[in-house]
Amino acid sequence: MARFRLVPKRSLGDIMTSDEMEGVLNELLDKVEANASRDPNKKYVNSFRRQMWFSPSKGPRVAARKVGQFGAEPRVGLAVEAARGTMARALRESI
């Protein structure tokens, strides 16, 4: 009788910290940025900032990963969000 077992080809940690994962995150952030850029407040749109970093594993669990962050200057960002919900809508449209 044949026996089967799953053979992991790559570890989860390897995938989460890979360049491919960074590409996936960048694609996602591109969509969010494109959707949020439709906001009429130019000061808000000009304050957009994107960051990507590597978060190392601390402890027994594999938690190392690439992290992407996208946002606007907090003060104007909050006012725009309160007025129109631009980022909430951009996230809903992008993911």
Binding site: R75, L78, A82, G85, R92
Partner: protein
Amino acid sequence: MRDLLFAPITGDIVVYLRNSLPVAGIDYTTDVLVRAQLPASSSYQERMVTIRDDGGRDEGPLNRRAISVNVWAESRGNADLLSQYLMALLRSMPDGDPIVATQTFAGPFEVIDQNTGKIVVGDVTLSQYFFTFEAVQRGQNL
């Protein structure tokens, strides 16, 4: 294929808050105007709340909708307290018809951008607070 209807829930939330706020009998929860949008400027009050639906995402028979709440009051303290009280009310809102859960509350934050038009009622400049949450809605069979 299931034909599901996700009816607008903004009205349900507005009606729920209108009915629940006066029951508390707390000073800062009285005389609060709750609407989906701000009224004409001639009808502004010192305490106002608006509920806005920022869109949802389907998950089978459920729809997760992002809801934004703006709160204005005559002072920072009362705007903050009123926001916290509204969040408490909304946490206990779900009854399954059609909202089955309210979660992921964020805020309240004070809106302090100087470029945004401030609302003045009488000689009082209102303080504005803002918070968001996710309302999980059950679909209705068509």
